[in-house]
Symmetry: T
Subunit: 140 residues, 12 copies
């Protein structure tokens, strides 16, 4: 049985509450329940933090045993070399996800420090992007 963890970064705890125009109106927890139902043969877990260090700790914790990490690092995507180094240090493949199309937003959101250390990137598909990321890890 595959073990996949979804890690969300800063401000993503407010999904469905704020800025619905950009991020949609669904709370992530609700979406996650539906996702678990869809992939009931997979051990899916979820972690969110606004602390860069907590995200690094979590990547270290699961990054040598899980089968895949789906990572939406939010704004840390564009500033955190430390998370990038953490991804490079672990063996579990990481897929970078963004809910919105970051390339249609401010220029500082066009560059990802993480992407080059990830398996791949999926952006612009709303919460659906998480499902595509899980699918890509399962190669279903």
């Amino acid at each position: 049985m595959s073990r996949i963890i979804i890690i969300n970064g800063p401000n993503l705890n407010l999904l469905g509450v704020r800025e619905k125009g950009i991020y949609g109106a669904e709370r992530f927890e609700d979406y996650f329940e539906r996702l678990k139902t869809q992939y009931n043969g997979v051990e899916l877990s979820y972690f969110q933090s606004n602390h860069e260090g907590a995200i690094i700790d979590k990547i270290h914790e699961v990054g040598f045993s899980a089968d895949g990490i789906v990572l939406n690092a939010g704004a840390f995507t564009h500033t955190s070399l430390a998370i990038a180094d953490a991804i490079a240090a672990v063996t579990t493949p990481v897929v970078e996800v963004h809910i919105s199309n970051v390339y249609a937003r401010e220029p500082f959101r066009h560059h990802s420090y993480l992407a080059k250390n990830c398996k791949g990137v999926i952006c612009g598909f709303g919460l659906e992007g998480y499902r595509l990321a899980v699918a890509s890890l399962l190669r279903e």
Copy 2:
């Protein structure tokens, strides 16, 4: 019945023939046959050209009637404002796909003129990326 077209840009006619280390060993035509089998309820078609103008012509031709375009514009991704304008001009949603993880390659491959006009971007998953793109358009 949905109509989706896959458009491949320059040098992608050599897939499976050359630079297998980067792009894999499978010819796109073979992959496309398998994809059609998997999505037999979808009208899938395929177009490849090394000519920027031909790709624009094709986007114009299908971009007001098809249900989705999966576009791997190859090197034109990084240089063609004209294709970017074509994507903006049509009504069919376009998903940008790259076989390799472009963020792990030369810096000039990190920037896409097309992405901001597309629905979303999928990169780094090999030929599998085309399937994810089709899935994202079908919201299956």
Copy 3:
């Protein structure tokens, strides 16, 4: 009798069809008919292509015999050194035209590779810009 040719570049075949907010609601063919009526003592012709190479071929073809070229190269304005070289190579004067005020749009539309080899530039006046360009070439 003067011979003047209007050359339109990529995506301008969609004038009047799409993005009317930026480019207006009139098809270029209709405008061109009106223009020919207004300048019935001038031999006016029209060429459009989405292919950079076809535009270069056309400039070569008419650029040693016509009395003027009115060129709206669309997105090629900002990317095509090859068209810029073609303009420099021929003897017919070329006037660069843009329908919209490119300086009020994205930064990449502010720079023209062609302008320095042209006689002059006219932008922001809608389709009316083509008439001003013809007038400037006729010095009426």
Copy 4:
């Protein structure tokens, strides 16, 4: 009856006196007389100053009542955010004119702070450019 004002910026009082290779041999006052003759149904006036502040004052003075402003701000084109703000603040449409083809000159002349707030830009046609600008405002 339409009211249009031509505003010339720094050093343009020397037209026809100096640097004839770039700007031509005709004094602007002589050209202006001919222009008034040609457009005798239009109330044409003319203002020149080497003072940025005086140009702003003039734009404020006429910018809510005149039907059009033809502005050749000379070197202020490339340095004056204050004139750019003045153009944005008034309601009269402004057409930016340059006598020479600024894109064929020094790089610092390629950028205009004013253009994005103007209706359009005309450059490279010598004094004829002023006539084209008046014509564009009258849509004759």
Copy 5:
């Protein structure tokens, strides 16, 4: 009764202890007591952390109920897109404060990622800046 919270970022716990030449000799806690006395009709509270994540957590916690946030994010001002996103996500207005005149210091202190999402910026007035910020929120 208005509720306003002052949030101080990294190293500001050392105010009055170190680098008095730049930041002054008063401890923030002492200043804060005086401020509460001056605004005894306002519910003023104070939070300081050297942890970016803790500042984001706090903004989330108070950002939908408080009447104003006075934020001196210290060095995070210049590096934290995540705090900038947090400010954009909440509804409480935020005023950015700096004790020193950051524009008279190193270039990297001239740019704020936060400012564009704040109501306004006050800098250079020493601890007095906090009082001005509170005043601006109360519009007294």
Copy 6:
């Protein structure tokens, strides 16, 4: 009795007349009357000019005797080294004010040549910013 002068730069004579969405609907003269009433123990005066040179002359005139200058140099903020030098040359402290939040506008408005020579900067609080600036100079 303190003497404080407010100096407004280019286009600010149009406050309350134009671009009310950005700058508000109140004329500065009306606001200034209210401000004088509020600070009736202070000798407040007001000067506005669209001429950079006149602003420098005024700073020289009052800059060795007044107790404070509140300066909103408008677009000159971003272009005038000469005003910056004038501020550095005089002994009266200068507070830089902007009505709008310049950091939420075009990039060229993010940089101030003046700020590093001023006592401090206040921006984004509408006309209220002038009052905060006066208050900061009086340290009331």
Copy 7:
């Protein structure tokens, strides 16, 4: 018997006709005849196009069987990542040639996207450069 193909890019069909000061007065076809005479033991062929796509098609066509390609891509040298990718994809060695000394011309001609994928570069020797390129491929 060796097979070598010379590929010329945009505007090089005008060699000997225009801009003789830069490119010389000889037509390429005449030069090519002389070259074939000199290398009568080599199978020399020639291709010219103003179409980027046609050049890519030709590189694909000959790039797995010919013994050498001499490529003067003209202005595409400085803009075409797609041709650069084509050179990288084929197995035939490519020598980049420029007739003029591009380093003594405009800055945008100093950078070649193609050079890093070629065997070597020869520039500044007029049409003679083609002969040197052929010689380098034959290692005569």
Copy 8:
């Protein structure tokens, strides 16, 4: 008796576990034991965290009483102005250490925000660099 603390930043808890090609095969804890043996007349302590805030807290805690800090801030070296400010705020001298030669790696690792506030920098000597740093602080 001297008190020196070694502070390691993000991902350095994985030393000896991962990326041994870059960082070597020894766990830091083992190295630290050997170091303590070598310097048994010195009070050596060790702290590691993946949290920027925790590192700042620790620098504040020891930075007014310890005799030296040896700091390998990992990726925070290149992104953390807040740690740089913390170093400037304390009185204990700080020596920056890197295990690998950062100048032979990616360009973003060439710049240190911390170095200018440190006493000195030692890089490229593997774990040995920590010993050299301790030696430099003891001036043995």
Copy 9:
């Protein structure tokens, strides 16, 4: 008898009054009297203004009849294309002077828009620089 005019730009009316550390303690008027005594066979005159436009007007006025202009444009040196154009437009040779060594000051003072249109530049010699400039024009 030679006619030479010295033109001083913004803030130079404060020479000898303020910032004596940079500009010296002598008023320019006093220096000028001494200079006239030294060069009693030369018609020396002096003009100062804080208005860019007034400086342009003055250059136009004397620039076709005087034998030399000594110009210290102060901060306008670094910002005024309009003065640069005025220098290019007149026939009198202009020598650029700076009292301080501008290359040892802020980076924005290292670039002069005027220098390329002047005969030469003299900087760093205090008021003595004016005498050297006069001497260079007289070639005594």
Copy 10:
């Protein structure tokens, strides 16, 4: 009889000794003997120095009498304006040669200060490049 001198710059005395992967395994002296045999009707000489000044001295010495200079300035190619000026000052034509394809190496090797003053550039052909350069000078 033609006189041609080959000048090699810094570190090229180690050819054939070190970094054979980049520069090949043949000592330059051996290659030079073979080259002299091949061109026995030409007076070929050779000079190598690691001193920029010595190379300039040599260019001055032979640059008004020799028929050609073949110059591989090594790393000075990318840093020495003084050698570039020397090439411009003499009358003998200079051909720039590089053994490796510098465009496939580090970015700082892509720019040559010398190239614009040379007749032409040949790079990427190993030691064979020297022969091509001699051939180009002899136009054999």
Copy 11:
């Protein structure tokens, strides 16, 4: 017995004579004597030159036989690609040393062309840095 050579670059012959605030008051020769005493089992030698070429010659001379080179290239650190190439060409490990903390000085001193080819870098420890470098080479 180990052989280590210390090479000092331009202006370091003035150590202890000039700019003692930056470089200290001890002459290098005196320091070197003390160092030799401390490492009497090591064959230590010393070379200084203001000539880039002489430094390259020396690196070539000792770089295949010595056990270590301690190199303080002074200003050549920031400008000499030729020395960088020399370091890459030899087999003896090189340690880069700087007496002052170059990161706390002018920006152009922050970048080293040499560092990436060296074993490591030690800076900011005064003359003590040379001892640390020797120690690092001896791994004592």
Copy 12:
């Protein structure tokens, strides 16, 4: 009796021989004889070298005893940090001279590494500039 030395850098030994359009037709030795005659109460000497190291050696030799150095470092002006450091290290004041107006030439000649360490700069006055420099040092 004052002792002043003139130091000329690379290629200036060719003055009067080559590129007379830029540098004039007089040999420096002839000019120097005239200069010595004019300043017969001053001990004037002259040194020229194409070697950066030799110029540094000479500055060290005379820089603690001579009364002034007139330095035209030629192309080293724009590339030599080592000469800049030498000027900073000595106590004799140095005046930088350029024969041509470097600001009217290529952009790379606009920046001087030396100027900030010199007393002042004189450029554009031909050989006359040396006399002005001597005069400035003598304050005659």
